[in-house]
C-alpha cells in the first residue's frame, strides 16, 4: 500500500524523468492556454466549459500552431479535460504529456515512445514501489502489430469484417486490447482511416492512417501519428466531425480556421499524446487510475 507521500514522490520522479529525457534530446518545454475559444472538433470527446471557453481536451491544436510558427521539437505536460469519462482507466481531469517533432513521421515518434518508457523504467528501477512489467526494462519484449494483424491474431472477426459490421471498438476492447503488451510494450499501428482523426494517410494506401497506440499490460498508454498537414483533407474531416457533433450533441462547433490556415506551413511532423497517470499505473502496478492521483473525484 503506497502512502500519499510515497505516491507524490513517484509522480514527481516520473515527471522529472520525462523532463530530463526531452531536454537531453533538445526538446523545448512549452505551455499553451488551457482554456480555448476554438477547439478541434472531435465527435467522441465531450468538452467541459469554463466561463464561456472550453477546457482543453488536448493541447494538440496550440502545439501544432507553434510548429507552424517555427518551433521544431516541443513537449508539454499539462492537465486535460474530457467530460463523462470515468472508469478504471479514465478521469475527467488527467495529466497528458504531448510532444511533437518536425520533418519526421510516426515511426520516429514510435521510437521516442519506446525509448522514453525504457528510460523512465530504467531510471526508477532502484526505487521501491515500482512494478517492472515482465522484469527489468531491458528484458521487456517489444512487439509491433498492425491493427489488421492484431485482429487476425486475437479477434474472432477480421478487421474488414468488424468495419463492415460497425463494431470495431467493441471487438477491440473485448478481444484485442486485453492481450496487448503483456510482456512489455506493444505498438498497435496503421489504423483504418475512419479512426484516423488528425493523422496522415499512407501515400500508397489512402485507407490506412499513419497512427499508432502504445499498450503496456493491456492498457493504452499513448497515441501518436504522422500529422495531417493538408488543409483540404483536414477541413473535410473536421466538417464530418462538426456535423456529427451537431446531430448527436446539438452543439455547433466553430471550424478552427486559424489552424487550417496554418497547418500547411508545418510541412511534415509527427506527435504523441501520452497519459501520464496511466504510465504511473503500469509502473506502480496500480489497478485503477484513481490509485495514482492524490485526490478522489469527490474531493
Amino acid at each position: 500500500m503506497t502512502t500519499l507521500a510515497g505516491l507524490l514522490r513517484q509522480r514527481a520522479a516520473v515527471v522529472a524523468t520525462i523532463r530530463r529525457f526531452f531536454e537531453e534530446r533538445g526538446f523545448v518545454e512549452v505551455q499553451t492556454p488551457i482554456r480555448q475559444s476554438v477547439v478541434i472538433p472531435e465527435a467522441h470527446v465531450r468538452l467541459l466549459e469554463a466561463d464561456g471557453k472550453y477546457l482543453q481536451s488536448s493541447p494538440e491544436r496550440a502545439m501544432k500552431l507553434l510548429l507552424s510558427r517555427g518551433c521544431e521539437k516541443i513537449f508539454q505536460i499539462c492537465p486535460c479535460f474530457r467530460g463523462g469519462e470515468r472508469g478504471r482507466l479514465h478521469l475527467e481531469e488527467f495529466t497528458m504529456l504531448e510532444w511533437y517533432r518536425k520533418d519526421t513521421d510516426y515511426q520516429v515518434v514510435m521510437g521516442d515512445c519506446r525509448e522514453l518508457v525504457e528510460y523512465i523504467a530504467g531510471a526508477l528501477q532502484a526505487d521501491d514501489g515500482w512494478a517492472a512489467v515482465g522484469g527489468a526494462p531491458d528484458k521487456w519484449r517489444w512487439l509491433y502489430t498492425t491493427v489488421e494483424s492484431g485482429f487476425d491474431r486475437l479477434s474472432p472477426l477480421s478487421l474488414a469484417e468488424v468495419l463492415r459490421r460497425d463494431c470495431f471498438e467493441e471487438i477491440l476492447v473485448e478481444y484485442v486490447e486485453p492481450h496487448l503488451g503483456t510482456a512489455g510494450g506493444e505498438f498497435l499501428y496503421e489504423y483504418p482511416v475512419q479512426d484516423g482523426s488528425l493523422a496522415r494517410t499512407r501515400s500508397d494506401d489512402p485507407g490506412v492512417a499513419e497512427r499508432f497506440e502504445l499498450y503496456i499490460r493491456g492498457i493504452e498508454i499513448a497515441n501518436g501519428c504522422s500529422e495531417l498537414t493538408d488543409p483540404v483533407e483536414q477541413r473535410a474531416r473536421f466538417s464530418r466531425q462538426c456535423a456529427r457533433i451537431l446531430a448527436e450533441q446539438n452543439i455547433d462547433i466553430a471550424m478552427p480556421e486559424q489552424f487550417l490556415t496554418e497547418i500547411a506551413a508545418i510541412g511534415s511532423a509527427a506527435g504523441v499524446a501520452l497519459g501520464v497517470d496511466r504510465l504511473l499505473m503500469v509502473l506502480t502496478g496500480a489497478e485503477t487510475i484513481q490509485q495514482v492521483v492524490p485526490f478522489s473525484v469527490a474531493e
Binding site: E42, A43, H44, G84, E85, R86, G87, R88, L89, H90, F168, E169, E170, L172, V173, E174, E177, Y191, D195, G196, S197, R211, E213, E220, N223, E248
Partner: protein, 187 residues
C-alpha cells in the same frame, strides 16, 4: 429514461421488457474511438446473467419497481403464500422464483416483496434469521477426530454445517446472504 452515461454498478434498467440490474460495469474508450459502456447484467426475474456493451446514444427505460413489506403465511407444494398486513391482500411466488430463499422462510416472517409492473418477482429476507435445529447428531465429548463442524437440519429442511456443541431443539442464527451459521441463540 436513463442515458448510457448514467449506467453504473447497481443501476436497474429494462431490457426486452424485463428488469435487469447491472452487476458489473466498465467504461471503455479505445484510442480515438467512441465511448463504450460494458455491462454485466442480471435479469431480476430469471436470475440469468449476460454481458452487453452499449454506446453513448443508447437509452434505457427505468423499471417500475416497488417493494412492499409482507408476511409469509405458508406453502403448498411449490406455491409460497404471502399477505400484505395492511389490506390482507394475498399472493404467492413459486419455489423457482424464490430459489434459495425457501431455505429460510418460517411462518409469519416479515419479508420485503419486490413488484415489477405490479407483478411480484422476488423477495428480500432479513439478513439474519433464527431457525430451530430439528435434527443433529449428539456431540461425542472428547471426540478428537479433528472435525470442528457437524451437519444439522433446521425446521425448514435446510442443512448446514455448525459447531459440534449445537444440539437438537436449539435455535441458531443464519446469515441468509451466505446460508452460513452465525451464532447460537439464547432463549
Amino acid at each position: 429514461m436513463f442515458a448510457a452515461s448514467d449506467l453504473r454498478k447497481g443501476l436497474k434498467i429494462v431490457i426486452d421488457n424485463e428488469p435487469h440490474i447491472i452487476v458489473d460495469f466498465q467504461f471503455s474508450k479505445p484510442g480515438k474511438g467512441q465511448a463504450l459502456y460494458r455491462c454485466k447484467l442480471r435479469n431480476m426475474i430469471t436470475g440469468s446473467q449476460f454481458s452487453n456493451t452499449y454506446r453513448s446514444n443508447d437509452k434505457f427505460e427505468k423499471p417500475d419497481l416497488e417493494e412492499r413489506s409482507m408476511q409469509y403465511l405458508y406453502h403448498q407444494d411449490d406455491e409460497y403464500h404471502f399477505m400484505d398486513t395492511n389490506n390482507y391482500e394475498q399472493l404467492f411466488l413459486t419455489a423457482e422464483q424464490l430459489a434459495n430463499n425457501t431455505n429460510f422462510l418460517t411462518d409469519n416472517m416479515e419479508v420485503s416483496v419486490l413488484f415489477f409492473n405490479d407483478r411480484p418477482i422476488d423477495i428480500s429476507l432479513p439478513i439474519f434469521v433464527d431457525l430451530r435445529v430439528t435434527q443433529a447428531d449428539p456431540w461425542a465429548r472428547g471426540d478428537t477426530s479433528g472435525t470442528d463442524t457437524k451437519p444439522v437440519t433446521v425446521e425448514t429442511g435446510y442443512q448446514l454445517q455448525v459447531p459440534p456443541f449445537i444440539e437438537e431443539g436449539e435455535k441458531i442464527q443464519i446469515d441468509t446472504r451466505t446460508g452460513e451459521y452465525v451464532t447460537r441463540v439464547k432463549e
